[in-house]
């Protein structure tokens, strides 16, 4: 019997939507197997990581809190990826955005007013965008791959964070801990529960206004990609670079726009998370959202609404991973392994979007069974 891949005449839409589910299922299956072999309760871990966070409502607020920054970052990355601009530096832009917001918060210390928070947010977006502008400049002027430069700038951003935490921005009343001051109310993104929203679902007040903003941003991005000239530019540039140039969309401008936008959104996610969820800036601030957002962007098929769904899937694995760690004694790396496997299987099953399997061919004798 022969098994072969045959190119489809048109990419399969069904497979396009099915492969993310397939990837998640394969991850759960293989992950359970691997951790069983390592002597853990593999099926239990897979259940705890992929199912428990959905069935247990008390974990939902955490899901929303974790998914929100992923949505914001991944929506930006997905737009860049659609144009074949590969920003791998969202983690760094996220940190720099948070630092810029913190800078505003600390620089205005002692002042009060409703203008402080918007200024922090603005500074975060600008800083994230400018930080992504470095790879854009190097790419458009010198032809350096933005994949390498944006990746390396992640580590530069983290070093900057460590320096500021241990030096200039250390809380003077913090007993020498390398952390900033705790933000006061004027410097904190309000919680939904502060406004009396969803108090039954979120009794602890975990979810801040970053969550609804993330949904709004995904919707806006959807509209922009589908209807605007900017979205058109992005889509043409990714699908047919020569046609983009012919149509009057200069490649360098597309690179700048994509990087500034994805960097700005990563910066926004950073400042919202620092202000809304952490409440101060700490050295442990970078937890890999910028990297996970890459998985999210692909899992969501580079479509803004797909990205929103994929963010929830990734958030499930984060929360589930923490649970499995606490309750089953799984290693810290387990959640990371599951996330990486998800991307791996997604890329592997991707081949079925443009190809189909042909099984059979020649069976020479007695095909009666």
């Amino acid at each position: 019997m022969r098994v072969e891949l045959v190119a489809r005449r048109e990419p399969s839409r069904l497979m396009l939507y099915l492969t993310p589910l397939l990837a998640v299922s394969l991850t759960a299956l293989v992950g359970a197997g691997v951790f069983s072999l390592l002597g853990y309760d593999g099926p239990g871990a897979a259940f705890m990581i992929f199912v428990q966070p959905i069935t247990n409502p008390s974990l939902w607020p955490d899901l929303a809190a974790k998914a929100a920054p992923l949505v914001i970052i991944a929506v930006g990355l997905a737009i860049g990826f659609r144009a074949n601009v590969w920003n791998i530096g969202a983690e760094g832009q996220y940190v720099v955005g948070a630092l810029a917001g913190t800078g505003v918060a600390l620089g205005t210390w002692g002042m009060q007013g409703a203008w402080i928070l918007p200024l922090m947010v603005l500074a975060g977006m600008l800083a994230g965008g400018l930080y992504a502008g470095v790879p854009a400049l190097l790419r458009t002027r010198l032809g350096v791959s933005e994949i390498l430069t944006s990746l390396m700038l992640n580590y530069a951003a983290i070093q900057l964070l460590y320096y500021l935490m241990r030096g200039p921005w250390k809380d003077p009343e913090g007993y020498g801990f390398p952390e900033t001051r705790q933000f006061d109310e004027a410097r904190t993104v309000p919680k939904l529960s502060d406004w009396g929203l969803l108090t039954e679902l979120d009794p602890g007040g975990v979810v801040h206004f970053g969550a609804p903003l993330a949904i709004l941003l995904a919707l806006i991005a959807w509209f922009v990609m589908a209807r605007s000239l900017f979205g058109f530019r992005i889509r043409v540039s990714g699908a047919a670079p020569k046609a983009a140039r012919y149509g009057g969309f200069a490649a360098n401008r597309t690179i700048w726009m994509s990087l500034l936008l994805s960097g700005g959104l990563a910066g926004l996610a950073g400042v919202l998370h620092a202000s809304g969820s952490v409440g101060q800036m700490v050295p442990a601030f970078p937890t890999g959202y910028g990297f996970m957002a890459i998985i999210v962007a692909f899992l969501g098929r580079l479509h803004p609404l797909g990205v929103a769904l994929a963010s929830i899937v990734l958030a499930i694995t984060i929360i589930g991973g923490e649970e499995a760690q606490a309750k089953l004694g799984m290693p810290n790396a387990a959640a990371g392994v599951f996330q990486a496997m998800t991307l791996f299987f997604l890329l592997a099953t991707d081949v079925f979007v443009k190809n189909r399997l042909r099984i059979g061919g020649r069976i020479k004798t007695g095909a009666s069974a």
Binding site: L229, F232, A240
Partner: protein, 521 residues
């Protein structure tokens, strides 16, 4: 050709009721025809008539849904190209699959189904070249060869297997007249030795000159069989498109306006072939033809004029305004439109709908955007207008560009540019692979556009096309453009020499005389 056409026993190839359907299209509907041993048999038809699908089934690339393929009298199932080659079917595709960096021998070795020692292979190649008088140096690197020579590699590759049937898909579309004549000689020799040839072409004059029999397809069905030598080009064209050909109406004496598009000393540097010192002038209402063999700077010329490629020196002015240094968009707003030869991926985006493709270049001149948004209704309306005016066969503006046949997409692209009412239009290979009926529509549209005062530059390898509609003719060769001359003042032979005498500009050898004479006019 003494063979009795009704007796299938002696036929080399016979198709009986071959049917193939793709989602939404019946590509071949009960096609039957017969090819005799030693016969050169033409397969003639419009774009989308089903010629390619049919030969793909004969060559084993796809399988028929119904019907029978008989080979030397016995029914066969051709499961793959390898199986076809084993039967004795060779095929030379329109687009070659060659490695530029490898030699002729290496390329041939890579395409073989069986491994052969290098020494033996070289001897076999020599044998084939000598037997058919093919001029080709087996040690040359492919990148240094002309298109005609590259095609000969593919032919040798097929002939090494001693085929009994050779399928040629639009073989002359990239050749100079002289190269085409050489190819015909080879094919006649092949036929004289008993090998059958299935010859796909849309060039009626060639078929008349070369082929013993012709099967004409329309809409996937066989509509006629004929002996081309007994027909006229006009009568075959009529069978092919099912209606009288609308002759291109060319106004005898057109009033030409002032000089509109003036290019002086235009040169490029950087990737691709460098253009050197290109100069020409096109008046309002005039069509300048640029002839030349593919790869001599045609794409570069179009791109430097459209704004996709930077110029190093020179100037290009439209109605007195400088174009160089402006973006493609700015040039389009000034009135310069362009239609490059590569439809999919350059002139259009395959995975986009026709409406989106309409907006790709038409958005400014047709006012399809507002407040940074693409306006859906006018965009659809523009696409519908193109589809209706240029008879694009499609399901509507929502259809993907990649779902259209090459000729239909070409009509769409040309229509999109013409309907923007440009001041100047640069168009490359507008009728490449387009059937006679559609070509006539495109030619008429270009003439009508010129009549409205547009300055047109038509870049084409099809001399018949150029001679039919252009006012002045120039030849591009290795990035240089010959001076333009009145179309009537230059013979096909002289043009062919200019195009194919490739290196003539610098050569001063004995055989360079004719080319220089042609340059001197």
């Amino acid at each position: 050709m003494a063979a009795d056409r009704s007796a299938s026993g002696g036929a080399r190839l016979e198709l009986r009721g071959v049917t193939k359907a793709f989602p939404g299209v019946l590509a071949n509907d009960k096609v039957s025809f017969t090819v005799q041993p030693g016969e050169i048999h033409a397969l003639l038809g419009e774009n989308g008539a089903g010629k390619s699908t049919l030969v793909k089934m004969i060559y084993g690339v796809t399988q028929p849904d119904a019907g029978e393929i008989r080979w030397n009298g016995a029914p066969v199932g051709v499961s793959s190209p390898r199986a076809a080659r084993k039967l004795g079917v060779g095929m030379v595709f329109q687009h070659f699959s060659l490695f530029e960096a490898l030699s002729v021998t290496e390329n041939i070795a890579l395409g073989l189904d069986v491994s052969m020692r290098p020494g033996k292979l070289a001897a076999r190649i020599r044998e084939v070249l000598d037997a058919y008088g093919l001029a080709l140096d087996p040690s040359r690197i492919v990148s240094s060869l002309s298109v005609g020579e590259r095609q000969r590699i593919e032919i040798v590759r097929a002939l090494l297997l001693e085929p009994e049937l050779l399928i040629m898909d639009e073989p002359t579309s990239v050749l100079t007249p002289q190269e085409a004549a050489q190819l015909f000689e080879t094919l006649r020799q092949l036929a004289a030795r008993g090998c059958s040839v299935l010859y796909i072409s849309h060039k009626l004059k060639e078929i008349q000159e070369l082929c013993d029999a012709a099967t004409i397809l329309r809409g996937g069905k066989v509509v006629a069989e004929c002996q081309p030598r007994r027909e006229t080009a006009g009568s075959m064209a009529e069978m092919m498109i099912g209606a009288g050909l609308a002759a291109v109406k060319r106004p005898k004496a057109r009033a030409l306006g002032a000089e509109k598009l003036v290019v002086e000393g235009l040169s490029t540097a950087g990737e691709g072939l460098a253009l050197q010192d290109i100069s020409f002038r096109v008046r309002a209402g005039e069509i300048l033809g640029v002839a030349g063999v593919a790869g001599n700077g045609q794409n570069e010329l179009l791109e430097v004029l459209s704004g996709e490629r930077p110029a190093a020196r020179g100037s290009a002015q439209l109605s007195g305004g400088e174009l160089l240094g402006r973006s493609p968009n700015a040039r389009r707003k000034l009135g310069l439109c362009a239609a490059p030869e590569e439809r999919n991926g350059h002139a259009a985006v395959g995975e986009f709908s026709l409406a989106e493709n309409a907006a790709l270049t038409g958005r400014d001149r047709r006012n399809l955007t507002s407040f940074g948004l693409v306006r859906p209704a006018p965009t659809r309306a523009f696409a519908e207008e193109i589809i209706a005016r240029f008879d694009v066969r499609t399901t509507g503006p929502g259809a993907l560009a990649s779902a259209l046949s090459g000729g239909n997409l070409q009509k769409f692209v040309i229509g999109r540019e013409i309907l923007q009412a440009p001041e100047a239009l640069i168009v490359a290979q507008p009728t490449w692979g387009v059937d006679a009926g559609a070509a006539a529509v495109i030619h008429q549209a270009l003439l009508d556009l010129a009549a409205k005062g547009c300055a047109i530059v038509l870049i084409s390898q099809d001399l018949d096309e150029l001679l039919a509609i252009v006012d002045q003719l120039a030849v591009i060769n290795e990035g240089r453009l010959s001076p333009a001359r009145e179309t009537g003042a230059v013979s096909i032979e002289a043009l062919g020499l200019l195009m194919g005498g490739v290196h003539g500009a610098e050569d001063s050898g004995a055989d360079g005389g004719a080319e220089e004479a042609a340059y001197a006019g």
